[in-house]
């Protein structure tokens, strides 16, 4: 959507009509934050230096915070009285709509940093544009999240440069990680019917727009990190449509355990 001509707020009829699609769209954003926050929080107490325990925990905390706001909103749109925790903990595997990239195991610090740069650049492009969404709630969430994301991207980019342009060993490790993770970025920008629908309604930004911004940042940081941009390769995962890798199941089993073991309990 254009910042110069923000579309008028939606009327009640069209809002009801778009609710199922909006619900799914918000889940995509919320589940990205939820699953990546979960993965990052696994690092706490195990990072290469005490300062990095704090740095990664900081990003994890911000992402869980974004997940709470987005999933609470999703519950409201759904209109069945489900709150942020019901949505976060009680859906089944195929109902999670995060991109597959964020559910992959952390790997070593280098792989985690590569993944983080790819996603931070994506979230920055997303939130910068989402801040002028016709959906006021999403716009407000995005406005807050954009500041956090700028810091995340600064942190992850700095680390990618240190590792890419560090020792021969660190360079080799992150180049390998980049090759391994690159194919998972395809789904981030491949628009499907839901993406197009949301863009037409002025709710979501155009993925093409975002792809341009993302490419510019990624090329810049890869160059500074002396890393080669991998070639494009054919790809099969589409977590954003609920088609996940084997890894999500384990992550959910761990995350959902207490809620499933004590149905209806309050914590």
């Amino acid at each position: 959507m254009s910042a110069l001509h923000p579309a008028p707020a939606r009327d009640a009829a069209s809002a009801a009509d778009e609710a199922p699609a909006l619900y799914r769209y918000v889940l995509r954003l919320g589940d990205l934050a939820l699953v990546l926050g979960q993965r990052l929080s696994e690092w706490v107490g195990h990072a290469p230096a005490l300062e990095e325990d704090l740095g990664l925990a900081n990003i994890a905390l911000d992402l869980v915070g974004q997940a709470r706001l987005l999933l609470a909103y999703a519950g409201e749109i759904e209109g069945r009285g489900r709150g942020e925790d019901d949505i976060a903990f009680l859906r089944t595997h195929g109902e999670y709509l995060n991109p597959t990239l964020v559910e992959l195991p952390n790997g070593d610090f280098g792989e985690t940093i590569v993944r983080q740069v790819l996603i931070d650049a994506f979230q920055l492009a997303l939130y910068e544009r989402l801040a002028s969404s016709r959906d006021e709630r999403l716009a407000a969430i995005a406005e807050k999240a954009v500041k956090e994301t700028r810091y995340h991207l600064r942190y992850s980019s700095s680390w990618l440069v240190r590792l890419g342009d560090g020792t021969e060993d660190s360079h080799a490790r992150v180049q390998r990680a980049l090759e391994r993770l690159w194919p998972y970025t395809v789904e981030l920008f491949e628009a499907d019917a839901l993406d197009r629908d949301m863009a037409e309604r002025g709710i979501a930004p155009s993925l093409e727009d975002m792809r341009g911004a993302w490419n510019r940042h990624i090329d810049e940081v890869l160059a500074e990190a002396t890393l080669d941009r991998p070639a494009e390769r054919p790809y099969t995962w589409f977590g954003k449509r609920g088609e996940h890798s084997e890894h999500l199941g384990y992550l959910l089993a761990e995350m959902q355990y207490l809620q499933r073991a004590h149905p209806g309990a309050r914590w």
Partner: protein, 330 residues
């Protein structure tokens, strides 16, 4: 200033003999003046502080593990957030304390090496497992509660950097105890299974928490110097008694039973009497034979060794940047 470039063995003042220096030093401490990094201090004062501050720092770092273990399984997003923030704080506290220890002329890497090879001690409480979510609540309520009791007097300790680190830590610590108690309250007001989970955690953590205050006064070797130098301001038994008196009513409020059949209120002395502590267990755990000692240290060793390539890469990059800047300037 807290510089590593301190000349900690020399002194450029007029020649004065050692016992006169010690007398003047003690007089300053008695006047409640703070000792700062570049000041002259007795070698034993320096050694005692390095030992105490580093043990405290190690405890914070190791302490991230028993609770960190539950972050991915926290039962709500709010609890997950709170737990990440708490464990992050603990890492931060470790960092402040290593910084304070470094002002005494040791390096953080040296101290960490001592921890990882098993030479340095840390609070034995973190060698106990956290098998249930209720253990996370019990740690916040009891372990952080006991820690606060130890830490508040340290805010007035004679060594400036340690006192200042403690002020910062105590400010952050009070949320830790409250969130633990809050977890326990929700459990005790919940389902029968939740309440049983809470009671089980209290059963497991009560005695280890009492042991956190250290051996009885009669048996403690380091105490009298530490008290004279205002590094330690209250005795182990005094603090332990205070902890029991504060905590027993809290357990009652929760509707939980303290696992001590000899616990009773003494109306004359206005305090609780409690049963004998098993000091053999304390010694066993302190010596490395507690349930999780090996696992905790292994986890820290793994993090350290697996992270080595990262730390070296960061240094290599910084070196390259410096060389580039130098050759641009040339």
């Amino acid at each position: 200033m807290y510089t590593q470039a301190l000349d900690v063995h020399g002194d450029s003042g007029e020649p004065v003999d050692e016992s006169e220096r010690e007398r003047r030093f003690q007089a300053r401490v008695d006047r409640e003046e703070k000792v700062e990094p570049k000041d002259w201090m007795p070698a034993r004062y320096r050694a005692t502080l390095i030992r105490q501050i580093s043990q405290h720092a190690h405890s914070e770092i190791v302490g991230m593990l028993p609770e960190g273990n539950w972050i991915t399984r926290a039962p709500s997003l709010l609890r997950k957030s709170i737990l990440i923030a708490k464990v992050q704080d603990e890492g931060g506290h470790g960092a402040y304390l290593y910084s304070a220890a470094e002002t005494l002329g040791v390096s953080r890497d040296q101290l960490i090496e001592q921890l990882l090879c098993g030479k340095a001690k840390y609070s034995s409480i973190f060698n106990y497992p956290t098998p249930t979510w209720a253990d996370v609540g019990a740690i916040g309520w009891l372990v952080d509660g006991a820690a606060i009791m130890n830490q508040i007097p340290l805010c007035r300790c004679s060594y400036g950097p340690y006192a200042r680190a403690m002020v910062r830590i105590c400010r952050e610590e009070s949320f830790h105890q409250r969130q633990g108690f809050d977890i326990m309250m929700k459990l005790c007001a919940g389902t029968a299974e939740q309440k049983a989970m809470a009671q089980g955690a209290l059963d497991r953590w009560w005695w280890p928490a009492l042991m956190m205050f250290g051996p009885p006064d009669s048996a403690s070797t380091h105490s009298s110097d530490s008290q004279r130098w205002k590094i330690k301001r209250f005795s182990n038994d005094e603090l332990r008694q205070k902890f029991v008196d504060f905590t027993v009513p809290q357990a009652k409020f929760l509707g939980l039973t303290v696992p001590d059949p000899e616990l009773k209120w003494n109306e004359t002395l206005q305090r609780h009497e409690f049963g004998a502590i098993d000091w053999n267990e304390f010694e066993r755990v302190l010596k490395g034979n507690g349930p999780c000692n090996r696992e905790r240290l292994e986890a820290r060793r793994r993090a350290q060794s697996q992270g080595r390539w990262v730390r070296e890469a960061a240094m290599a990059h910084a070196d390259k940047q410096r060389r580039r800047a130098a050759s641009c300037a040339a």
